[in-house]
Amino acid sequence: MAGATERPLAGAAERPLAGAVAPGPELPAGLALWTRQVGAMIGLEVRKTFLRLRALPVIVVALLPIVLLLLRLLAHSVRGADPMPAGTMASAFTLIYQLFFVRLVVFFGCFGIFTYLVRGEMAERSLHFYLLAPIRREVFLAGKFVAGCLAAGTLFAASLLVQLGLAFLPQATAGGAAYLLRGPGLGQAAAYLGVTLLAVVGYGALFLAVGLWVRNPMIPAALLLGWEWINFLLPPVLQKLSVIHHLQSLCPLPVPRGPFALPADPTPPFLAVPGVLLLAAALLWLAVVRVRRLEITYASE
């Protein structure tokens, strides 16, 4: 049967229109509206994602360096060893920070947080809650990204500050408090904090984009981790094509790179910071391209 023959409803034309909810004084437009929408998203994201049991693995990962430093402090106390000189501790701390905290803790923490933001909601079939709201897709993505950055930034910054406190406790480091609060340690701490936040932005954008474009983000994450880890073995030009090279360039103290490392000049801060931010912007643009075309087809996810 051909079907689909139009049959107007009796009286349909005479019925008054209910009218849409027109944006009025209570519903702002433009930037004010987007700010309000992003604010609402952040509130929801923090509640449903970061203050729940599923956040536990990421919190545990963030606690790992703290546990490491606590064990060191405990061993120090048990052995009754003399506190380490502050300069030596600063060198040891930068090893922990660059090789363990940034490369593994922040990397995997961001993976857990940012890939879940969209991909996790697809897997849980709850993404339509957002996509049925009158939010521009770009604003939706911005809300997700900002929420992720706030959560990850707070978590890793807090972890870093506790690590610094533990590392430079007077019981573990001779003159540690003076070094950290009045000496060069304060500037170093600020640099580590800045690098941590920059790492959250860089890796966050990376994993948000990966989560949108790739159904199983584990595979690209493993490849990226490998790339970041073998970075020091690569020719200098290729070394610069990694997030970790720019982050390490911003760290206040260098780490020994081993006999097989190929020397590459650190990127100066005035290039490293915008470089990571530009990379993040490019990745977010890729994510926007994908999110604009996003459909709700949970069955195929």
Binding site: T5, R7, A18, L44, L132
Partner: protein, 319 residues
């Protein structure tokens, strides 16, 4: 008279494929204000049609307009549309109140205004007492009602309701139907899908029968039946004094396809290709005193029968 395009949902030659799998195919459809029901079995394409009209899916081919708006602009479309989806998953850990209130906050409403609207919507669906509980602990019917509250909370012009009566108890069903009628009476577009056919039969201003990804018929229920009559005989139940005599007389008519006596010999079931001629003949025979008519009932004027006709016809055509 057709309503203007700005007051209609228009599907123009729309197809949707999920890879190689057909969702819906070559859909031409216009939906005006009032209650429109999409009727069809599971997997027929109802939800795909709804997701397309709500902008959650994009057509593989063709064009969809919703009240003149471009579906590619969610910031406009979802002020017009409230969608009660079939998806039974919710953001983790949230309560019924959060579900509606946060949705309004995402619209941009300030906290107090959002709270006022959320309270009103939740009250309308009878969920005020349970709104503070987590959705994860809700029954199926409560989940349906809170989804309904979310769909109506921003007072949209278009309500899309995918199987909205699933899981509702009889009282809640009646209340929901009343709510749909009220929304339609306010001039809104209420599009719902259901396989509980007798409910939509009485409720709907029009039905869209969907099968295998195709719209097989569309219009007012009586209209669909008339549309079919040229191809498919109308079936009428006649209770009368001399059914055998009536059957013999009817067989002489070329428009009568079948006349089958009831088991109790108190009536017969007639299938005719021309309802008008059949009723004229019946009146004449009654006037002549050939038979005494007790009751005449169209046997297949409800959606269920129409749908059964159509689908069985399709199956026969395919075999």
């Amino acid at each position: 008279m057709s309503a203007p395009a700005a007051d209609r949902i228009v599907f123009a030659d729309v197809s949707k494929f999920y890879g190689e799998v057909l969702g819906v195919n070559r859909i031409d459809l216009e939906i005006g204000p009032g209650i429109t029901s999409l009727v069809g079995p599971n997997g027929s394409g109802k939800s795909t049609l709804m997701n397309l009209m709500a902008g959650l899916l994009r057509p593989t081919e063709g064009r969809i307009e919703l009240l003149g708006s471009d579906l590619g602009r969610p910031e406009e479309v979802y002020r017009l549309v409230g969608y009660c989806t079939q998806f039974d998953s919710y953001p983790r850990g949230i309560t019924g109140w959060d579900f509606v209130h946060l949705y309004l906050r995402l619209h941009g409403w300030p906290r107090a205004a959002a709270a006022e609207r959320a309270a009103r919507a939740i009250e309308r669906v009878g969920m005020a007492a349970a709104a503070g509980r987590r959705i994860a602990g809700y029954s199926k019917g409560m989940k349906q009602r809170i989804k309904l509250a979310q769909a109506i909370a921003h007072e949209p012009r278009v309500l899309i309701l995918d199987e909205p009566l699933n899981g509702l108890d009889p009282l809640a069903r009646a209340e929901a139907l009343e709510l749909f009628r009220a929304e339609a009476a306010a001039g809104k577009h209420v599009i719902l899908s259901s396989h509980v056919l007798h409910e939509v039969d009485e409720l709907s201003d029009r039905v869209v029968l969907v099968h295998g990804g195709y719209v097989v018929a569309e219009g007012a229920i009586e209209g669909v039946r008339e549309e079919m009559a040229a191809e498919r005989p109308l079936q009428v139940m006649v209770r009368c004094s001399h059914p055998g005599r009536l059957a013999a007389r009817l067989f002489a008519e070329d428009h009568v396809v079948e006349a089958q006596l009831d088991a109790d010999k108190g009536g017969l079931r007639v299938r005719t290709e021309n309802a008008e001629r059949f009723y004229l003949l019946l009146n004449r025979l009654a006037a002549e005193g050939a038979v005494e008519i007790e009751q005449v009932l169209p046997a297949d004027d409800d959606v269920q029968s129409v749908y059964r006709y159509l689908i069985s016809g399709q199956a026969q055509g395919a075999s």
